[in-house]
C-alpha cells in the first residue's frame, strides 16, 4: 500500500487525463453490459409482471396458441369437477390516440363471473358507475381503466377514450376507475377492462376466446386440476400456470437475448483492450520509476501488485461509473426497446420501469474489475520484469524484440491452423465457436507485427504527403509498435465486430429484398390495423369475395397467421390459400419439388416450412410435424422448405382449408390484393374503400408501404450494429487520445528539439495529426480485414443461434466505405487535444526532459 501511495498516487495525479481515458474504457464496457442486460431483463420483467398482475387468483390458463378457440370450450372446462372457476379472456393491445400513451392493454372479461378471479375494486363508489355493472355490460363502449391511466390523462367517469379497433377509430366511455390494485399496474398502468362479448366485436374475434383462466376447487391440487382439464380438452390445448406465458415470451426473445449478450461481451472485450493499452503505456512510461524502486529493493511481486492494484482501482471506479451510466441508459432505452420487441415478436408488453437487478450490478462491477486486472496482467508482469539497469534506456521497452515477434507469429500460426481445422467440424457447435475465438486470438497475436508492417508501408506515403511531418509520424509508429499496436488491436476488433453485425444486416436486407420481390408482391395488403405484426385483430372471410368483386381487382388471397406451441416453443403458423398463392407468388423450394410441395399443401397433406423453422427444429423434407389444434393433434409431413422471413423464429405454412377445418376459425388477418393489369392501383384502392365502407374497417397498405414497413423493422432490429459502430468510434477516440498523449510525452524532447531548430508549431501539430490518422487508417485496414472473417462467423452464429436464418455471405461495402472517413475523422478529432498540448508546453522544459 505504501508503494502504491509512493508510486501510483503521484503518477495518477500527474496524469488525470490519461487515467480518465483508461477508466473510460471500463466505463464504456460496463455501461453497455449493464444497459443491454437491464433493458433485456426489463422487457421480459415487464411482460412477466403484466402476466402475473392480470392473472389475479388464476392458477391455470387454457390456451391454443394465439388463434384462440370456440366459445364451447368454456363449458367443457367449467364441467370439469376439479374446476371451481373458469372464465374466458380476450387480450389485445390497441393504439390510443392519446398524446404520449401509445398502446394500451385491453382485457375483455365476463364481468358476471370474472370478479371471482380478479379484483375490480372501484376507486370511488360515488363516482364509479361500474357499481352498476348492468350499464357496463349493456353498453359496448364501456371501459374500466386503471387509476394510473385515468390520472395520467385526467380521465374520470364518463370521459371518452379514442381507440383504434377492428371497426375503425371508436370512442369508448370510461364507466369505472379501478382502485390501485396489483392488476392496475399491469402494462405500465395502461390497462382497460371491457366486456368480453363487446371485445369479440371490437377486436374481430367472432365467437372465440383467447384463453380461459381457471381456479381449482378448494382442496384440489393445481396439478390434479391441470391434468383433469388437459384430459377433458385433449392435446390440442395447452393447460398451464400463467407463468408459462412468460417462458414462451422468453423463448421468443431468445435470439434477441443472445444478441445483447454478444454485444455486451464485445463492449467488455473492447474495454479490456483500452485498459491493456493504457497499462502497457504506463509501464513503458514509468520504467525509470520502476527501475529505481527495484534498485531500492522492491521485489518483482511488489511491483506487479502495484500495477494490479492500480488496475483494480481503475476497474472499480470505471465499473461504478459504468453501472450508473448503464442504468441511466437502460432507463432511456427501455421504453423504445420494449416497443421494438413488441413490433418484432408481436407480443404485448410495455416496459415503463427498468428492473434493477443487484446481482447484475455486482456481476458487472466484478466483470469490470476482473477485465481491468486481466488486461493489466501482462503490463504488470512486464513491469515486474524490468531490469533496473535497462530501465533508464529510453525506448528499449517499446520495441518488440525479434524473439518476441517470432514467438507471437508462431503462436498466431498455430491458432490459425487449429481455427481452420475446426471448420471441418463446424457443424458441432463447440468446434464452431472455438474456431471463432481461435481465429480472433490469432489475429490479435499478429496485430503488433501487422501494425509494424503497415506503419513501415505507410512511411513513403506519409513522406510524400508531408516530407518532415510524415517521416516523423511514421517513425514514431515504427519505433514504438507496442504503444500503437494495442490501440490498433482495439480498433481492429471493434470495427471487425461492427462489420460482422453490419454484414448480417446487409445480407439480411438483400435476402429480404429478394423475398419481398418474390413473395410479397401483391399490390395491396389489407389488415385491420396498420401494425401488421399485431395478430390480435381479425376480420370475417366474407370480406374477401367482397373485395374481389370490386372492378379492377384481379384476385384476393386470405391469410390468417398466429403463433402456436410446437415442441414447447412458440412458432408462427401461416394459413394461406396455397393454390392462389402459387399462381401469383410461386416459391422455389430449397428442398423438395415445387409441384409436389404445392399439391400436398393444397390437399392438406403437407406443410411448407421456412429455412429458419427447419434449422431451429432440425427438420428435413418428409419429417412429420405434429401440430396441436383445438380439434386435436394433426400430423403434416414437411412438403417443402423455402427461404422465408415472415417471422424471426421461422414459419410454417398450411393451406387455409386445413386451418379452418382444425382451428374452427374462418377469420382473417390479412388480405393480399392483386390489381388487374392496366388498372391504376390508386383508383382500385378508392373503389375497394368504397366497397367495404360501413362493412369493415381495414387499412389498405400499398406494396411500397409494406416494403418500407418491413425494412423499417429490419433496420430497427439491427440498429444494434449502429450502436457498435458508435462504440468502435469511441474506442478509436479513446485509444488514439491515449496513445498520442503518451507518444507526445515520450517525444517531448524530440518535439522540443524540432521546434528549437526552427520547426513551426503547425509542423508539430501536423506530425501528431498524421500519427493519429495513421493509427486510424491501420486500424480500419486491419478491422475491415478481420471483419471479412468475422462476417463468416457472425452469419454462422445467426444461422445456429439467432433465429436459424441462413443468409448468403455478403460484404457490406457501403459500411466499409463509410467507416474510413468516420474513423479517420474520429482519429483527427482525437489528435486535436494532444497536438495542442504538444505545441503549448515550455520549450525549455521540453529540452530539459529526461
Amino acid at each position: 500500500m505504501r508503494l502504491f501511495r509512493l508510486l501510483s498516487w503521484p503518477y495518477l495525479k500527474r496524469h488525470v487525463l490519461r487515467w480518465t481515458l483508461t477508466v473510460a474504457g471500463i466505463v464504456l464496457g460496463v455501461a453497455v453490459y449493464v444497459a443491454m442486460n437491464t433493458v433485456n431483463a426489463s422487457v421480459q420483467g415487464a411482460f412477466s409482471d403484466t402476466v402475473q398482475q392480470i392473472a389475479g387468483a388464476t392458477q391455470l390458463q387454457v390456451t391454443s396458441g394465439e388463434f384462440g378457440f370456440e366459445e364451447s370450450v368454456l363449458e367443457r372446462v367449467q364441467a370439469v369437477p376439479q374446476v371451481d372457476v373458469a372464465v374466458p379472456i380476450i387480450e389485445a393491445t390497441v393504439d390510443t390516440s392519446l398524446p404520449g400513451e401509445g398502446t394500451m392493454l385491453v382485457l375483455g372479461v365476463d364481468m358476471t363471473g370474472d370478479t371471482s378471479l380478479r379484483d375490480y375494486s372501484m376507486e370511488s363508489a360515488d363516482d364509479a358507475l361500474i357499481d352498476d355493472p348492468l350499464v357496463f355490460l349493456a353498453q359496448p363502449d364501456s371501459l374500466m381503466v386503471s387509476r394510473e391511466f385515468a390520472a395520467r390523462n385526467r380521465f374520470e367517469v364518463n370521459s371518452k377514450i379514442p381507440l383504434h379497433t377492428a371497426e375503425g377509430d371508436k370512442t369508448f366511455t370510461v364507466r369505472g376507475v379501478m382502485k390501485s390494485t396489483g392488476m392496475n399496474k399491469a402494462f405500465g398502468g395502461s390497462l382497460a377492462i371491457m366486456d368480453i362479448y363487446a371485445a369479440q366485436v371490437v377486436f374481430g374475434r367472432g365467437r372465440r376466446f383467447d384463453r380461459i383462466d381457471i381456479r381449482a376447487k378448494d382442496g384440489v391440487p393445481v396439478e390434479e386440476c391441470q391434468k383433469a382439464v388437459q384430459e377433458a380438452l385433449g392435446p390440442g390445448f395447452e393447460v398451464g400456470p400463467p407463468s408459462s406465458r412468460t417462458e414462451h415470451f422468453a423463448a421468443l426473445m431468445q435470439s434477441y437475448t443472445l444478441a445483447t449478450q454478444v454485444s455486451s461481451l464485445f463492449a467488455l472485450v473492447v474495454g479490456m483492450f483500452i485498459i491493456y493499452n493504457s497499462f502497457a503505456i504506463a509501464v513503458t512510461h514509468r520504467r525509470a520509476e520502476i527501475g529505481i524502486l527495484r534498485a531500492l529493493g522492491a521485489t518483482q511481486k511488489q511491483v506487479r501488485r502495484i500495477f494490479l492494484l492500480e488496475s483494480a482501482v481503475a476497474g472499480l471506479a470505471g465499473s461504478l461509473l459504468g453501472a450508473a451510466i448503464g442504468m441511466a441508459g437502460a432507463q432511456a432505452l427501455a421504453s423504445s426497446m420494449g416497443n421494438l420487441t413488441q413490433q418484432m415478436v408481436g407480443v404485448a408488453q410495455r416496459t415503463s420501469e427498468i428492473v434493477v437487478n443487484p446481482w447484475l450490478l455486482v456481476a458487472a462491477i466484478a466483470f469490470g474489475i476482473a477485465t481491468s486486472v486481466i488486461a493489466a496482467w501482462i503490463p504488470a508482469r512486464n513491469a515486474s520484469a524490468v531490469d533496473p539497469v535497462q530501465a533508464l534506456q529510453k525506448g528499449k521497452y517499446q520495441v518488440l524484440s525479434a524473439g518476441e515477434n517470432r514467438r507471437r507469429r508462431m503462436a498466431a500460426a498455430i491458432l490459425a491452423v487449429v481455427s481452420v481445422g475446426t471448420l471441418f467440424f463446424a457443424s458441432w457447435k463447440p468446434a464452431f465457436y472455438a474456431g471463432y475465438l481461435l481465429m480472433i486470438g490469432a489475429v490479435l497475436l499478429l496485430a503488433p507485427a501487422l501494425t509494424l508492417l503497415l506503419a513501415r508501408a505507410s512511411r513513403p506515403l506519409l513522406r510524400r504527403i508531408l516530407p518532415v511531418e510524415g517521416t516523423l509520424a511514421a517513425d514514431s509508429l515504427i519505433q514504438t509498435p507496442r504503444r500503437t499496436s494495442a490501440t490498433v488491436a482495439a480498433l481492429m476488433l471493434s470495427l471487425a465486430m461492427a462489420m460482422g453485425f453490419g454484414g448480417v444486416t446487409y445480407s439480411m436486407r438483400a435476402a429480404i429484398d429478394d423475398w419481398m420481390t418474390t413473395a410479397l408482391n401483391p399490390d395491396f395488403f389489407m389488415s385491420p390495423t396498420a401494425n401488421l405484426v399485431s395478430r390480435a385483430t381479425t376480420f370475417p372471410e366474407e370480406i374477401g369475395p367482397l373485395i374481389e368483386s370490386v372492378p379492377g381487382v384481379a384476385t384476393v388471397q386470405l391469410v390468417r397467421n398466429a403463433r402456436i406451441m410446437y415442441r414447447k416453443v412458440p412458432v408462427m403458423v401461416v394459413s394461406i390459400e396455397s393454390e392462389k398463392l402459387r399462381a401469383t407468388a410461386p416459391r422455389k423450394p430449397m428442398e423438395g419439388n415445387e409441384e409436389e410441395m404445392y399439391r400436398l399443401a393444397k390437399a392438406g397433406k403437407g406443410a411448407i416450412i421456412s429455412d429458419a423453422f427447419q434449422a431451429n427444429h432440425n427438420l428435413k423434407l418428409g419429417d412429420v410435424l405434429e401440430l396441436p389444434t383445438p380439434s386435436g393433434i394433426i400430423a403434416l409431413p414437411v412438403a417443402g422448405i423455402i427461404r422465408d422471413y415472415s417471422d424471426m423464429q421461422g414459419a410454417l405454412f398450411i393451406d387455409r382449408s386445413v386451418y379452418v377445418q382444425n382451428w374452427k376459425d374462418t377469420t382473417v388477418n390479412l388480405a393480399r390484393v392483386y390489381v388487374d393489369k392496366g388498372e391504376n392501383p390508386d383508383d382500385v384502392k378508392q373503389r375497394i374503400q368504397k366497397a367495404i365502407e360501413g362493412r369493415q374497417h381495414l387499412v389498405i397498405l400499398s406494396n411500397a408501404e409494406i416494403r418500407e414497413y418491413v425494412f423499417g423493422l429490419v433496420e430497427r432490429w439491427f440498429s444494434m450494429s449502429r450502436v457498435q459502430i458508435v462504440v468502435a468510434v469511441l474506442v478509436a477516440v479513446l485509444g488514439i487520445i491515449n496513445t498520442l498523449t503518451v507518444s507526445i510525452t515520450d517525444r517531448r524532447r524530440e518535439l522540443g528539439v524540432l521546434q528549437a531548430v526552427g520547426g513551426l508549431r503547425m509542423q508539430v501539430r501536423r506530425t501528431i495529426w498524421l500519427e493519429a490518422l495513421s493509427i486510424g487508417a491501420i486500424g480500419v485496414i486491419l478491422g475491415i480485414a478481420l471483419g471479412l472473417l468475422n462476417i463468416y462467423y457472425t452469419l454462422g452464429m445467426v444461422r445456429r443461434d439467432l433465429g436459424g436464418l441462413d443468409l448468403d455471405y455478403m460484404f457490406p461495402m457501403p459500411m466499409a466505405v463509410a467507416l474510413v472517413p468516420v474513423i479517420l475523422i474520429a482519429a483527427f478529432i482525437a489528435a486535436l487535444g494532444p497536438a495542442e498540448a504538444a505545441v503549448r508546453g515550455s520549450l525549455v522544459e521540453a529540452l530539459e526532459y529526461e
Binding site: 367449467q78 372457476v85 358476471t112 363508489a125 357499481d131 352498476d132 355490460l137 349493456a138 366486456d195 362479448y197
Partner: protein, 255 residues
C-alpha cells in the same frame, strides 16, 4: 330472488290447521309453496339500490313467469334507465339441479350464459345474487324447525333450510321465517357457515287473485352494508302465456 319467487307464490291464505303442520317443517314449506302456486305470473318491478354511501340508483323491469316451483321459466327485461333498456335475463328452473340462466344485451346483440360458478355474484349491482333469482323446489333442501318467533308483530315459524348434496349453493344454510296465519315467508337470512351474507325482508303483503303476495322486498347485503328494495306493481297471476316465449330466441326479440 328464489326467495322472491317463493314469496310471490306463498301468500295464499288457506285455513289449514297450523298445529297439524307445526312439527313438520317440510310440510310447512310444502304448504307455503302450495299456497303460492300459480300457472304464471307477470309484474312490473322497480329496483332501488341504496349503497352504503347513500348513493341511490333505480331501474325498472318487467317480469313474466310460466310454471311454478322447480319447473318454471322466467324472463326479466329491463325497461329503464335508457342505458339498460332491453337487457333481458332468462331463467330456466329445474327440479333436480340448479337453473340455467342466459343474459341478452341488445347493444352487442349477444346472449351470454351465466355460469353456475357465477351464481354467487351480485345481480347487476343489486344486493341480490344470481342464485337468488332461482326458483328452487322444496325437494332440493332439508328443513329443520328452529322454533317460533314473533316478527313485525306476527307469529312465525323459524325454519332452517340446508341445500341437499348435489345442490350447488353459495349459502351453507338459510333461516326462513314463515307467518303462521297465512304461510307467507316474511324474512330469510342466508348464511355462509356462521356469517350472515344476505337478509331479505318481505312486506306490503296483499292478496292478489287469492294468493298472498309481498309487494316489497328489501335485500340487505351484510358485507357491503347496502340495500336493494324491489317494489312490485301491476302484479297478476295465471295469465295465458306460451312456452315459446321463454326461450333464448324469444329473449333476443325486442318486446
Amino acid at each position: 330472488m328464489n326467495r322472491i319467487q317463493t314469496v310471490f307464490g306463498i301468500l295464499t291464505l288457506l285455513s289449514l290447521s297450523a298445529a297439524a303442520l307445526a312439527q313438520d317443517p317440510q310440510a310447512i314449506i310444502r304448504e307455503v309453496q302450495a299456497r303460492a302456486k300459480s300457472a304464471s305470473q307477470r309484474y312490473e318491478g322497480t329496483l332501488t339500490v341504496i349503497e352504503g354511501t347513500n348513493k341511490v340508483t333505480e331501474k325498472r323491469w318487467s317480469f313474466e313467469r310460466i310454471g311454478s316451483h322447480g319447473d318454471s321459466k322466467s324472463l326479466l327485461r329491463f325497461s329503464a334507465p335508457a342505458e339498460v333498456k332491453g337487457v333481458a335475463l332468462l331463467v330456466v328452473n329445474h327440479p333436480d339441479r340448479s337453473s340455467d340462466q342466459w343474459m341478452w344485451t341488445p347493444a352487442i346483440g349477444r346472449e351470454r350464459r351465466i355460469a353456475l360458478q357465477s351464481r354467487s355474484q351480485r345481480f347487476f349491482g343489486t344486493d341480490f345474487s344470481f342464485e337468488d333469482l332461482e326458483e328452487r323446489d322444496i325437494e332440493q333442501f332439508d328443513h329443520r324447525l328452529l322454533g317460533e318467533e314473533q316478527l313485525e308483530g306476527a307469529d312465525c315459524w323459524k325454519i332452517e333450510s340446508k341445500p341437499r348434496q348435489g345442490k350447488v349453493s353459495q349459502y351453507t344454510h338459510s333461516h326462513v321465517w314463515v307467518r303462521k296465519d297465512n304461510y307467507v315467508v316474511v324474512q330469510i337470512e342466508n348464511f355462509k357457515k356462521t356469517e350472515l351474507i344476505r337478509r331479505a325482508k318481505y312486506s306490503n303483503i296483499q292478496r292478489v287473485q287469492n294468493i298472498w303476495t309481498a309487494h316489497n322486498i328489501e335485500m340487505f347485503d351484510a358485507g357491503r352494508k347496502s340495500r336493494t328494495i324491489l317494489v312490485f306493481e301491476k302484479l297478476q297471476y295465471n295469465l295465458p302465456m306460451k312456452d315459446e316465449n321463454f326461450t333464448i330466441q324469444a329473449m333476443r326479440r325486442e318486446p
